[in-house]
Symmetry: C2
Subunit: 803 residues, 2 copies
């Protein structure tokens, strides 16, 4: 594996580049390169051509979307490791292109009209919140009913066969029920919309980070996601329905804010102002936050989740709107569920999962317990790292061997059956009987227990995971046998690990919480034994800390997770130990292996930008980082040239600097595509779609409006679909109307952290690099920045590849 | 008043500029100005000289700090209104200058050393949290004891004189006690450190926004602030001790992170790496958050406060550290106070003020009440606007007539005496007696009530405001007479309004909450009467909503305030109505007049940058906004020139573009200070201190290190203190080591929103504007951007002035 990566890395980059870099590390920045002399002699040398970057980048989204997410037939040749960046992902452009069309519109709009736009934003956020809340309610109610039905059927069956023997029939029934439900859930995901698999959190993280993942915010994805998660949970898999809510919220937000649906092929002709990357991404942040809010009853946690994953530039108004959507979402869920549960307007269930009240009086902690909590954080970090490492190997295995949809469905069914079997065997072998009185068990399974008692192991398996978590938190001391908890933890750990990554819609939050709560409670009970049961009042709080530690160890979220847990427990004073536990788990876990979501993002080779450039990257400058040469255009350009550039799939960017000849220095190869070191001025970047549209629609004559672009957004027609005659090719088009006249630029001496900061803070898609003469010498894109990473031995460079 | 402003506005700006702007509004951006032709003919014309900007800006902080905050002798000539920006405030530079010294250091540091730096950051945040928590404890304990002592003395006195008549002695005693305590508090503020007056929140807002306010983060300020707030609260003023905690936390953070104290003249030689604006501002954010957290037991609210007020670029690691500091702060406070109150490790009082538990079961709200809450938001908005408008007139009056410290002290004493007198008279006139049994009143005053009863009005006045707020929230229905509440609201409203802006350290949070809680409870009781007391269970929740509405109507904070209130009530489900109430109050209040803090910031003419550029400012471009001409330097510069520039107080910026001649176009007046349209390249910005240091210390020979600058930060020696001989003046210095070789630039065609976004997102201090030839044509600073504001009739332009 490592060899493959190594090879790709070397073939992807010319050795001379690496020499330059090493030189840059030892000599000061400006010494080696006199002004002007710097790039001039070197830009045209072929040593700067990076094969990986120049080959075969598709320009149009439609074409790109045809490349589905399905694995390739020869997976062994895909060097799927984390030292690779895929070229297939495009970036979102968070920076508005300030071209003439845009400016004209903005200048036409007066203050009152802007207020209308602002009000529309609020209305959309309210709608996002309401719909997300309703979807969450729908999932919750359907799951509760279907799962209840299933448990009743199985329970009746077990009760029947317990008396007359032949419990293997019950096992068969249970396993078959589970497997068939999961089969349906897996089939719709695998065959209809593979991007709906998993929790969707990695995908949303990528989207908020600025990476376009095809199909991720489509209505079809939402439908499959919602049905899939219901079927997974009802199918008894070790999964939760919370993670997918985040994805669902994001899809709802994207759909509403654009006022149309690609899946339904309907355009409602509303909210057209918001049809651009900037606005859409803002609304998707709100949707993700609303999803978190509905899932955990944690509106503030939702806002912080969106900010932690997505925001680069903090905007007060945007954050306030996100918070509004979150609040509406949890309030909607709360209202509907309270009506559904009969105690109308009680408003005590703000999320899909509620940890129940942790009162300071009953379940308070003392300062002496804090070292114990930190120790639990260490355990959580180690267990989380183990979980992630196991899942990594499993995922690699899946990428290589289980890439056909039918195989994926079979694996999902196998896991469902095994989960049922393991549960059954453990219940069967368990002799942990508890009195039925005073317990809050929904489906008490008597099995071989005496009358008036129930099998304690059965409650853990014979329940939705959410209920099991709350039971572990709040059941009075003595409700669980340590042996039961230990066995349960062990089995559930492996089941959850096996389950994550299956081709079903499912989240990992709840299984993680459940594993943690189980071993946390076990830990609490052990402590109680060790200290003769005197001071350690309630194992419930250890279950909570264990849950936090395990979840933190697996997903490695920090701020938002602390706040989510804090809000879910409804107690501010628990925030401090939860924070310590999560921090410890993250530090310990990071020592071994990355977080689960980051790991999966890396396995997808997504060019994900972290918050800061690697700390030791000050030795790199924009010159070493940038892609070069770039294809430049002239301000007045031949249509043929434009069409050729757009048709040429080897042109390596979606933005082209528009250059103009310098009247003082006229001896230049002006705007030649392929050689952009013209002595020229930098004029602007133009999205290629502009030319296409223009070339298509009677060329120079037709006055394009901003509306044309909005209507086409985000799927512009490919150049291949447009016929351009020879006469038309000779026409000239004026690009000045469409180009951004003031793109951001950096000098080539700027250090990587500086470039990174500008790029990240403004959410750019392209950043033009200029030399001392202000001539375009290269372009920095997301991929160029994402390539540099801090590894164990210092700065690492990932290679780019077509995967 | 308006005339004065108008006049200044016109004299401060040449009419021709305004013409240009109007032209810019109607014609498209690029049409009027051909490439190259743009600035050339115009830059040297004197019409571009703006008198306001060119006259008398002090370059060195020490000189600037000599200009104290004391009002001028002729206040009528200071056009103190909101249409003015002061030139006396400097900006913080959040963008690291990537000069050679900095880069060399960064490249020397390896990965392990960076980890050490990172650990130091965490240690500092922990220390900030602990110290902030301890300071909060100190304030709380001292206030509790001193106030208790005072109330006991007065109560005994009243009890004595109630029997034998002559209650006017009690009034005298009370008033004198209050006035003398407040006198001490006012004297230390007025004579020792005027910047410690008020809550400090406007100052911290400005600091986090990037404006340097002299003395604001000095140790001396902290000491005065802490003593001042104790004395104000003990002196019975209508003030709270919560607001000042935010300022205190900020000072603590600034002090610890720099590892030295200017007030103590001690340098502990630690944390030297953090001696620059970027790092200091980050730590101050953490300190402010820790202050909020300690004040309200709201760690998440604290983080959001810091982000709402300060952050532009959201950084996950920074936010996580801020949260850590907040958590530590509230935990420290909680632990210490729990020990102090005898119930060690109970951890039930996470903040200085706790609203007490609002349980869903007992005090839940129903969906039908939400319109009522929104109506309360409207009332809060109107009352808040009234408060702010009254305070505005009062502040204008104070600026004009009460500008001597002794007058300020007298006013404070007067307010203290009047507060006592009003309280006394109201208690005296009140006939609202309540049974003493079962109530939680600390100092029950019997007065003319029957035995076993106490005067209900007295509890409101005869208590620290924090306790009164909690009583209003949680006292059972019927504890208060509507008349009592009405009178109390009315009187306290005017007292609080009069008090805010006095020369004492005091916050406005608690008085606002108290006013709101009083009328909210009154509102709840009235509702109860109207509906025959059937459905409206508890007036406590109306008190809470009233408090939120009133506070929101006055300060107009949104997200952070919602979260603070949510955390203080400890109930997530209350978040939704609180959010609605705060939103309504803000919308209604904004219709009339600005928020209190923003109003005071404007009255100080601080160049405060909001989150976004005015929406209708797309018609303005960088060319119209920038200051021009700028003083440029050459890469190799004569020492004499540098010294002259630095000595010349009329040079209008603290940063100078370093320009270099273009080898292709040598016919230029290169780097002439005053005329910067040289045909040249932009090279970098240099803080002027570099030259000074260098000129001082044996000129070209001495190799300056980054340490030299860090030791001097932030108070560099003024140029006047350095003797430069004639020989030395003729030496040449090479600026390339110190200049930032890759400053951010914008083309002059960039629109104002684009410039604004770049400036704000990166926290810049200077932004260089270049023309199509990449020649420096101007500079955009904070003042240039802050000048444009959205007024009632569209875009307004503030004038710049020396105040």
């Amino acid at each position: 594996m490592a060899n493959v990566a190594k090879k790709v890395s070397w073939s992807g980059r010319d050795p001379r580049d690496d020499e330059d870099e090493r030189a840059g590390e030892t000599t000061p920045l400006l010494n080696g390169t006199g002004p002007g002399a710097a790039g001039g002699a070197r830009q045209f040398t072929p040593s700067f051509l990076r094969p990986g970057q120049l080959s075969n980048v598709d320009l149009n989204e439609d074409i790109r979307e045809l490349e589905t997410e399905l694995p390739r037939p020869y997976p062994n040749e895909i060097p799927h490791n984390e030292k690779l960046l895929s070229l297939k992902y495009e970036s979102l452009d968070y920076d508005n292109s300030e071209n003439q069309l845009f400016l004209e519109e903005e200048r036409r709009i007066n203050h009152a009209a802007f207020r209308t736009v602002e009000i529309k934003r609020w209305v959309i956020c309210a709608m996002i919140g309401i719909l997300t809340g309703l979807v969450a309610c729908f999932i919750d109610i359907v799951v509760e009913n279907l799962a209840g039905l299933k448990y009743r059927v199985v329970k009746d069956n077990i009760d029947k066969f317990t008396e007359k023997g032949g419990l293997s029939f019950s096992l068969l029934l249970w396993a078959t029920l589970n497997a068939s439900v999961v089969m349906v859930g897996s089939v719709i995901v695998a065959f209809i919309e593979p991007v709906a698999a998993g929790s969707g959190i990695p995908q949303i993280k990528c989207y908020l980070n600025g990476v376009k993942i095809p199909h991720v915010v489509r209505l079809k994805t939402l439908v499959i996601k919602v049905c899939g998660v219901i079927l997974s949970v009802v199918g008894g898999l070790a999964v939760g329905k919370e993670g997918p809510m985040i994805h669902s919220g994001a899809v709802i937000a994207a759909g509403i804010s654009q006022g149309r649906s690609t899946s339904l092929k309907r355009d409602f002709k509303i909210f057209e102002y918001f049809r651009r990357d900037t606005e859409k991404r803002d609304f998707v942040s709100a949707g993700a936050a609303a999803g978190v809010s509905a899932a955990f009853g944690a509106p503030v946690g939702g806002v912080l989740f969106s900010l932690e994953e997505g925001a680069s530039f903090w905007n007060q108004f945007l954050t306030w709107r996100i918070f509004f959507a979150s609040m509406i979402s949890t309030f909607t869920l709360n209202s509907v569920l309270s009506v559904y549960h009969g105690n109308a307007w009680d408003l005590s269930s703000p999320g899909l999962i509620n940890f129940g009240r942790f009162d300071s009086e009953k379940m308070g902690y003392t300062i002496q317990e804090i070292p114990i909590f930190i120790f639990m954080g260490v355990v959580g970090g180690i267990l989380g790292a183990l979980f992630n490492a196991l899942n990594y190997w499993l995922t690699m295995f899946r990428i290589r061997y289980i890439h056909r949809p039918c195989l994926q469905v079979i694996e999902a069914m196998l896991v469902a059956a095994v989960t049922a079997a393991v549960g059954f065997v453990m219940i069967y072998c368990s002799r942990d009987c508890q009195p039925i009185q005073g317990s809050s068990v929904a489906y008490p399974l008597q099995l071989f227990c005496a009358d008036g008692e129930y099998n304690s192991m059965a409650t853990a398996f014979f329940n939705t995971p959410e209920k099991s978590v709350v039971n572990l938190f709040h059941d009075p001391p003595g409700s669980y046998n340590p042996m039961t908890l230990g066995m349960f933890t062990l089995m559930y750990f492996f089941l959850a690990c096996w389950t994550y990554g299956l081709t079903v819609s499912a989240g990992v939050f709840i299984p993680s919480l459940l594993i943690g709560a189980a071993w946390g409670r076990l830990f609490g009970i052990s402590l109680s034994y060790l200290t003769k049961g005197s001071i350690w009042a309630d194992p419930g709080k250890y279950a909570l800390m264990g849950a936090a530690a395990q979840l933190g160890g697996i997903v490695r979220m920090t701020l938002s997770l602390t706040v989510i847990m804090m809000e879910a427990t409804g107690n501010v004073t628990y925030g401090f130990p939860i924070m310590l536990v999560l921090m410890t788990a993250k530090i310990v876990g990071d020592y071994f292996v990355e977080g689960l979501y980051d790991m999966h993002i890396q396995l997808q080779s997504v060019p994900f930008l972290h918050w800061e450039a690697p700390v030791t990257s000050h030795s790199l400058t924009a010159r070493e980082v940038m892609s070069t040469p770039v294809t430049c255009l002239r301000r007045i350009e031949r249509v043929g040239t434009v069409v050729d550039i757009l048709s040429d799939t080897s042109s390596n960017h979606n933005g082209f600097p528009v250059v103009e000849s310098n009247p003082n220095t006229t001896q230049v190869g002006l705007g030649l595509p392929g050689g952009c070191l013209s002595r020229s001025w930098l004029w602007g970047l133009v999205p290629p779609q502009v030319f296409v549209e223009r070339a298509n629609l009677s060329l120079v004559q037709r006055r394009l409006k901003l509306k044309d672009f909005r209507d086409a957004y985000p799927r512009f027609p490919p150049i291949q679909s447009i016929h351009v005659s020879q006469d038309e090719r000779e026409c000239m088009i004026d690009l000045s109307e469409f180009m951004n006249p003031s793109p951001y630029t950096v000098p080539q001496e700027a250090s990587l952290p500086r470039v990174f900061k500008l790029f990240r803070a403004l959410g750019l898609r392209h950043l033009v690099v200029v030399n001392n003469h202000n001539e375009v010498v290269g372009m920095v894109t997301r991929k160029d920045l994402a390539r540099y990473r801090l590894g164990k031995e210092g700065l690492e460079e990932l290679s780019l590849a077509q995967t």
